[in-house]
Symmetry: C2
């Protein structure tokens, strides 16, 4: 196991009816910004529950945060926060709204252009406190210090992380997710699956507990994912998916082990250029990573094949091949296509993506060995043709 | 899954050399109480490493905290803290020293007799901040808000918990454990094993991820425990045991599921009356709980038999019987005896123990169904004859 430092101070309020308890986490005198997206929370009753819990509180609203939240929109929110002397941001929605809240919370205090937090890793020294009411299980942004923001003008999608932007509290009420379209639930399951894979499927690091915990999340997603996809009204399976998505990226399974994240980095380019749902880009890229890196990742791929898919027969090569097929079949069973042509992406785009990444990273490659360079990205994406 | 609230703000600094970083977690102007036990930290170099890291800091020492820390000793430390206006307690040692630090930190502020925190669940509203340097993996006290204190005068061993006594930080350097006697390592493995069982082996609660994470810890303890017991110099297995012990009781696997804790409650009486090592009392009691409650716990016992011990052949009764045998054999393989006579406890003591527990609990029984009463305790302990 590698040395590590770990701290996750977010308080989780999990289960039916927990929105009613958010007033115990907030001071009545605080000026609160209520941040949300396109207004689905007004249709499914979540907005009403929040307002009921915060009756008499000082609330300013800002809506219109997009899926893949835009820098340009966040800038407007930062101006509003400054103008209204907001003291707390309550994000109600999915990972996009929560990511936006983090960027806004940090952007208020940054002395340079807030974009520098993303483009030049300008250090975040302070941020407004955040709370969240999660309505879409997927990103685990509700229990970590990371955010991804997209800039429309330059078609860039970049990430940042800071200990200052962990939510103080997050409400996870599975009932808020019962009205979600199947497409979004499928996206969430695949996003969380990919988060686990990025922290697990690298090389052995003598960390058997982290391995088993990662495998526990993968198995839960595989068992519960199809149940909740088939029957959105099944509270139990939705609760399990919600908690599995949070555990997939709250830091617990990633301590002391190497991490990959090449799938996400390549996927972000696909979203930025072609507006493909984040999770679907991961389903396109991940099988290619497994295949292009099958030698380096061999030990873990064999463990994954055996412990997750019960594949033990055949040569090592055949076992790995079957594991890739099983992974693709799992994504497809949730209605998530894995080929570029399914999303009308032209094969010529592959070179553009590889070039963009190479330009952004310079000499530093992607992946747990930092050895995925421009030509590797081309080969990885060619598996998705 | 049941509703739950979860928060664990402790920062973990894990790995070789991390003691040197504690000065980044402390203010040089704070008056620090350095709390430790019988002085083993002076022999194994941990004391020197701490003093080196805190050169120039304002430190007062208090040593002599016992295994099963005594109320009477803690009272002396509380007086010292008040007299010296101590602002931070740094506990260096195992669970006993850390538990004592928590009781002292809370006791300083309590308006009644501090014993009321334990005997009458007097509410802890405030506590001094705590940090820890863990030298003995076992209790997970380094990453939770619980403590157990023993009162010599009345031979009582009682627990309390409060969100105010989570350590702000804990250093887990596996190298500090390399000089531990095999007996203590064995105790730690069995203690952690029992912590997992108390949160896992109850009844199904539709929480498959918590189950798999609990199973991951059990499997890690079973695989790595004998390695580290056989070769104390194996850093890797010791690191894995250290992290598994922390994860066993930092709250993660216990969210949203029923919990038992009867093994611990009965075990505490054995320690209070006969000074048997805490972990050894658990090894005495646990098999009896499995057997006495085999009908109520049937579903989980079968899952435990299958997923932990690969037992699938035989009737349900036979499978459970084999799982009990495997559990006992595991404890015994670490040199931990599981019968009362191994510790020279007279069979007549069984009634005394059952009576003491009944007196303390009144009508409320032990276990996940609160249905383990005086006569059940007798039967459970009779399995250990």
């Amino acid at each position: 196991m590698n040395n590590f430092q770990f701290k996750n101070p977010t308080k989780i309020l999990f289960g039916k009816g927990q929105i009613a308890n958010i007033n115990q986490e907030l001071h009545p005198n605080q000026k609160i910004l209520l941040l949300y997206g396109g207004g689905s929370i007004k249709k499914n009753g979540v907005y009403d529950q929040v307002m009921q819990a915060l009756k008499g509180y000082n609330i300013t609203e800002f809506s219109g945060i997009e899926a893949n939240p835009r820098y340009e929109t966040c800038l407007k929110a930062i101006n509003l926060v400054k103008k209204e002397s907001i003291e707390f941001i309550l994000a109600v929605g999915g990972g996009s709204v929560i990511d936006a809240a983090k960027f806004i919370a940090a952007g208020v205090y940054i002395e340079t252009d807030p974009w520098m937090i993303l483009s030049d890793r300008a250090k975040v020294k302070q941020a407004l406190p955040i709370g969240t009411v999660l309505t879409l299980p997927a990103t685990a942004s509700e229990m970590n210090g990371n955010a991804v923001i997209t800039r429309d003008a330059t078609k860039e999608k970049l990430a940042f992380g800071s200990p200052h932007v962990y939510p103080q509290f997050s409400v996870l009420d599975p009932e808020t997710t019962l009205s979600l379209p199947a497409r979004q639930i499928a996206n969430g399951v695949v996003d969380a699956f990919s988060h686990v894979i990025e922290q697990y499927l690298t090389y052995p690091a003598d960390a058997p507990l982290q391995d088993r915990m990662a495998e526990g999340i993968l198995l839960t997603l595989i068992e519960e994912g199809p149940k909740t996809y088939a029957d959105p009204k099944d509270y139990t399976s939705r609760a399990n998916i919600m908690w599995a998505c949070t555990m997939a990226l709250n830091g617990v399974i990633g301590v002391g082990v190497p991490q990959d994240w090449a799938t996400h980095r390549i996927g972000h380019e696909l979203t930025a250029l072609f507006e493909i749902d984040h999770a679907r880009t991961l389903a396109i890229v991940m099988p290619g990573i497994f295949q292009h890196k099958s030698e380096q990742k061999k030990h873990k791929l064999l463990q994954y094949a055996s412990r997750i898919w019960n594949i033990t027969e055949g040569s090592e090569e055949e076992i790995i091949h079957q594991a890739v097929d099983k992974t693709i079949a799992f994504f497809e069973s949730l209605g998530i296509k894995t080929k570029l042509k399914d999303y009308d992406v032209n094969p010529e785009a592959i070179n553009e993506i590889a070039e963009r990444l190479a330009k952004r990273n310079g000499e530093i490659g992607l992946g747990e060995h930092q050895d995925i360079h421009q030509q590797d990205v081309v080969k990885i994406l060619e598996y998705a043709l």
